[in-house]
C-alpha cells in the first residue's frame, strides 16, 4: 500500500476511534450501544500497537532480529524452546488472563461504564502493555531471569529481597480475594457447587491418563475432560432440582473450609495429579469462552443499561466499595489496565520460549491489549444489566440500605419479585447480595449467550449459560489458587531455607506440608474474615488486592527504568517513568485513604474506632481485622517506598557517573533464524 494511503488509513482509524469516544462521553440519559465501546477500544489498541509499541521496540529497546534469544542459545527441549510467535501469544495470554480482568471492571461499574472503560483502554496502552513488554525485553536480554533476580542484579540485593517478600505477601491477599469470589458465587448454589466439585475427579482422571495410562497424551485427556465437564454442567441442573441437591447447598463458612482443604491438597499433591490437568482444562475453556463472548457481543451489540456516570462516582459512598473515582477506579481495575503480576509471567516462562527478539512486541504488548479487551467485554456484560439489578446483586443488605436514598434518586430500582424472577430464570434460589462480581458477570454473560443462541434459532437456555459462566470463572480461579499456593510454598521454602537449609529442599515432605499449611493459613484467614464480614469482605479485600497488585507494577517499572538508564537510553526513560509516577500516585493515595480516612466506610482505622465500645459480639474481631488490614496496607506502601528510594539512588549514581552503568545483558550471539 502506498505510504500516503497508509497514512490516510491510520488517520481514518484514529478519527473513528475519537468519534466513538465522543459518543460515549456525550451520552447522558439515553441508552448507548455496546458497539461504541468496542469501536473506541479496538481503534485505540490498533493505533497504539502500530505506533507506540513499534517505537518501544525499535527506538527504546532496539530489538534485533539478528540477536539470538535464550530460547535459541540455551535450547534444551524442555523450558527453553523456540516457539512460533502466535503460539507463544496464546500461551502468554492464557497465563496472564485470569479472573482479574473479568471481576475488576464489574465492580468498577458502580461508577458507570465510562470511568472504567477509559482506564482500561488508556491505562493499557500507556501502562500495562508497556510494563509487560519492557519486562519481557529485559528478561530476554538476561537469559530469562525473573523479576526478583533482575531487581537484585540491576538495583541492589536489598531491592531483590524486598521484591521477593512483596510478592509473597501480595500472593496471600490475591489468593484470599480470588477464593472469596468463588465462595460468594457458589454459596447456596447446588448447581454451581456440583459442577465445580466434579472438576476435581475429572482432573484426577485426566492426570492419571496423561501420567500413567497414556503418558503425554494431553489431547486425549483434555477431550475426555471436556466431555465430562459438559456432562457435569448439565447434571448440575438435575442435581439442583432433586433432594440430593441439599448435599451441595452450603453456607459461605462451610465453603471456606472446603476451599482451604482443597488449596492445601493441591499444593501437597504432585503437579500431574490435580494442578496440571485442571490448568489444561481451564485454559481451553478460557480461550473458547472469551472468543465466543467477543463474537456474541459483536453480533448482538447489546445496549448498555448502566449510565456513563453514576452518582457514586463523585459521592464516594458506593455500596459495592467505598471511595471516589480517584483513586479507587484505578485500584479496582488492575488486571486489564496494568497488573504487576504480569511481570512475573513476562520474566517467567515466556522469555524462555521467545524465538526472535522482535516477537516480544506481539507477545508482550499485544497480549496485554487482548487482556484489556477482555476487561472491556466484562464491563459491557455488567453494564447490560439493569442498574437496580446490578446493585442488588453486588451489595450486602446493610450497604444497600445505606445507599438506598441515592439509588432511589438515580432511579436504580428493583423489586424483590423482579430479583426472584431473575434468580428463577438463572436456576438459582436467590441472586440478592451475591457480592464479588462473578455472579453479576455470569448473569450478563448468560443474557448475551442466550441472546446469541436465540438469534441462531436455538433455545435460550439461560440457566445453563449462567452456570456455564460460573463454572468458567470458578475453574480458572481455582487454577490460580492451586498454582499460587504452590508458588507461595516454594517461596517460603526458599526464604526459610536461607537459615535452615533442610527446609529449603522442595521435595522434603515435612517442609512441603509445613510451608503449604502456612501459606494456606495465611490466605485462609483473610478469606474467612471476608466471608463473615457484615459488609461482604470485597469492600476491604478487593482494594487491598488492587493496591498490592499495582504496587508490584511499581516494582516492575522501577526495574525497567533502571535498566533503560543503564542501557544509556535515559532520554526514553519517560516510557516507564510516566506509568510508574501514575501508579505510585494512585496506590499511595488509595493506601493512605484506606488507612487514615476519617470516613468509617472507607478508612480501616476510622472503622475500627467506630466499633470501640460497641455491644456487637463481633466487634473485637472486626477491630482486629481493621488493624490487620492497616498493617498490610502500610507494609505494601513501605515496600514500594523503600524500592523507590533505592531505585532513585541507583539512577542518581549512574546518571551522575558516580557508578558505572553496568548492563548485565547476555553477550550478543548471531541468531540462526536471521538468515
Amino acid at each position: 500500500m502506498p505510504r500516503f494511503a497508509r497514512g490516510l488509513l491510520w488517520v481514518g482509524v484514529s478519527l473513528v476511534g475519537a468519534a466513538a469516544f465522543a459518543v460515549l462521553a456525550l451520552a447522558r440519559g439515553e441508552t448507548v450501544s455496546a458497539a461504541w465501546v468496542v469501536v473506541a477500544a479496538v481503534c485505540t489498541y490498533t493505533v497504539a500497537y502500530r505506533f507506540y509499541s513499534r517505537f518501544i521496540a525499535t527506538r527504546v529497546f532496539g530489538l534485533d532480529p539478528r540477536r539470538a534469544t535464550p530460547a535459541e542459545r540455551l535450547s534444551n527441549g524442555r523450558d527453553f524452546v523456540p516457539t512460533n510467535k502466535w503460539v507463544l501469544f496464546g500461551h502468554h495470554f492464557a497465563a496472564i488472563a485470569g479472573a482479574g480482568p473479568l471481576v475488576g471492571p464489574v465492580l468498577a461499574a458502580q461508577f458507570g461504564f465510562l470511568p472504567g472503560t477509559l482506564w482500561l483502554v488508556i491505562g493499557v496502552v500507556l501502562g500495562g502493555a508497556v510494563q509487560d513488554f519492557t519486562i519481557l525485553c529485559c528478561s530476554v536480554r538476561r537469559n530469562g531471569k525473573s523479576l526478583g533476580q533482575m531487581a537484585k542484579e540491576e538495583i541492589n540485593p536489598l531491592a531483590g529481597t524486598t521484591a521477593m517478600l512483596a510478592v509473597l505477601f501480595i500472593m496471600i491477599i490475591l489468593l484470599a480475594v480470588l477464593a472469596l469470589i468463588v465462595v460468594n458465587a457458589l454459596k447456596a448454589s447446588p448447581w454451581g457447587l456440583f459442577t465445580i466439585a466434579c472438576t476435581i475427579p475429572i482432573a484426577l482422571l485426566m492426570g492419571w491418563w496423561m501420567r500413567s495410562w497414556r503418558p503425554g497424551r494431553v489431547g486425549e485427556a483434555s477431550a475426555i475432560g471436556a466431555v465430562l465437564l459438559i456432562a457435569a454442567l448439565v447434571g448440575g441442573g438435575w442435581v439442583a432440582s432433586h433432594p440430593i441437591g441439599a448435599a451441595f447447598t452450603h453456607t459461605g463458612t462451610a465453603l471456606t473450609w472446603m476451599i482451604v482443604v482443597y488449596g492445601f491438597a493441591a499444593s501437597v499433591l504432585p503437579v500431574w495429579m490435580l494442578l496440571a490437568p485442571r490448568d489444561y482444562l481451564s485454559t481451553f475453556l478460557k480461550i473458547a469462552t472469551i472468543l465466543i463472548l467477543a463474537i456474541a457481543i459483536l453480533i448482538i451489540l447489546p445496549p448498555l443499561r448502566m449510565p456513563a456516570l453514576t452518582p457514586f462516582a463523585t459521592l464516594g459512598e458506593g455500596p459495592v466499595f467505598a471511595g471516589k473515582i480517584f483513586p479507587f477506579a484505578f485500584i479496582t481495575i488492575a488486571c486489564g489496565a496494568i497488573s504487576g503480576f504480569h511481570a512475573l509471567v513476562s520474566s517467567g516462562t515466556t522469555p524462555k520460549m521467545l524465538a526472535r527478539e522482535p516477537d516480544a512486541r506481539l507477545i508482550g504488548y499485544g497480549a496485554m491489549l487482548m487482556e484489556s479487551f477482555v476487561g472491556v467485554m466484562a464491563m459491557i456484560a455488567a453494564c447490560t444489566l439493569e442498574p437496580g439489578v446490578y446493585f442488588a446483586m453486588n451489595t450486602t443488605p446493610a450497604a444497600l440500605a445505606g445507599a438506598s436514598d441515592v439509588l432511589k434518586t438515580a432511579g436504580f430500582l428493583v423489586t424483590p419479585d423482579q430479583m426472584q424472577a431473575l434468580a428463577a430464570q438463572m436456576g438459582e434460589q436467590t441472586l440478592i447480595a451475591r457480592t464479588g462480581g462473578a455472579p453479576s458477570l455470569a448473569v450478563g454473560i448468560a443474557h448475551i449467550f442466550s441472546g446469541l443462541t436465540s438469534a441462531l434459532g436455538g433455545k435460550s437456555a439461560t440457566a445453563l449459560w449462567y452456570h456455564f459462566a460460573i463454572m468458567f470463572e470458578a475453574l480458572f480461579i481455582l487454577t490460580t489458587i492451586d498454582a499460587g499456593t504452590r508458588v507461595g510454598r516454594f517461596m517460603l521454602q526458599e526464604i526459610v531455607g536461607h537459615v535452615w537449609p533442610r527446609f529449603g529442599e522442595t521435595s522434603w515432605y515435612p517442609s512441603i506440608i509445613a510451608s503449604s499449611a502456612v501459606v494456606v493459613a495465611g490466605w485462609g484467614y483473610f478469606l474467612y474474615q471476608g466471608v463473615v464480614d457484615p459488609l461482604g469482605g470485597i469492600n476491604s479485600l478487593w482494594p487491598l488486592f488492587g493496591i498490592s497488585n499495582q504496587l508490584l507494577a511499581a516494582v516492575a517499572l522501577c526495574v525497567a527504568t533502571t535498566i533503560l538508564i543503564k542501557m544509556g537510553r535515559k532520554r526514553y526513560a519517560w516510557v516507564t517513568l510516566a506509568p510508574l509516577a501514575w501508579i505510585v500516585l494512585i496506590t499511595m493515595t488509595a493506601g493512605w485513604q484506606k488507612v487514615f480516612s476519617a470516613d468509617p466506610k472507607l478508612g480501616f482505622l476510622a472503622h475500627a474506632a467506630s466499633l470501640i465500645g460497641s455491644t456487637d459480639p463481633r466487634a473485637p474481631r472486626l477491630i482486629f481485622n481493621d488493624r490487620l488490614n492497616t498493617f498490610m496496607a502500610l507494609l505494601f506502601m513501605s515496600v514500594v517506598a523503600l524500592l523507590l528510594v533505592v531505585s532513585i539512588r541507583e539512577w542518581w549514581l549512574v546518571l551522575s557517573k558516580r557508578k558505572p552503568a553496568t548492563v548485565n545483558e547476555a553477550a550478543f550471539v548471531e541468531s540462526g533464524y536471521a538468515a
Binding site: R78, A95, F341, G348
Partner: protein, 61 residues
C-alpha cells in the same frame, strides 16, 4: 517452530499443546537431533520432569 511436511491435525495438536503449556516430547527429541546427541530421557521420564518444573510456574489473577 513450524515443521515441514507435518500434517495439519498433527500441527494443530502440537500448537494446542504448546499454548496450554503441556509436555511436548517431540520438541525434546527434535532438540536432541539438532544438538547431535541421543535423548537422555524416555518419554515417561520427560513427562515426569516436565510436571515437576511446571509446578513452579505462575498463573496471573
Amino acid at each position: 517452530m513450524p515443521h515441514k511436511g507435518e500434517s495439519l491435525p498433527h500441527r494443530v495438536a502440537r500448537t494446542m499443546r504448546r499454548i496450554i503449556g503441556a509436555p511436548d516430547y517431540e520438541a525434546y527429541l527434535e532438540h536432541c537431533r539438532e544438538a547431535g546427541h541421543p535423548p537422555q530421557l524416555t518419554e515417561a521420564q520427560y513427562v515426569k520432569e516436565f510436571f515437576e518444573s511446571k509446578g513452579k510456574g505462575v498463573r496471573c489473577c
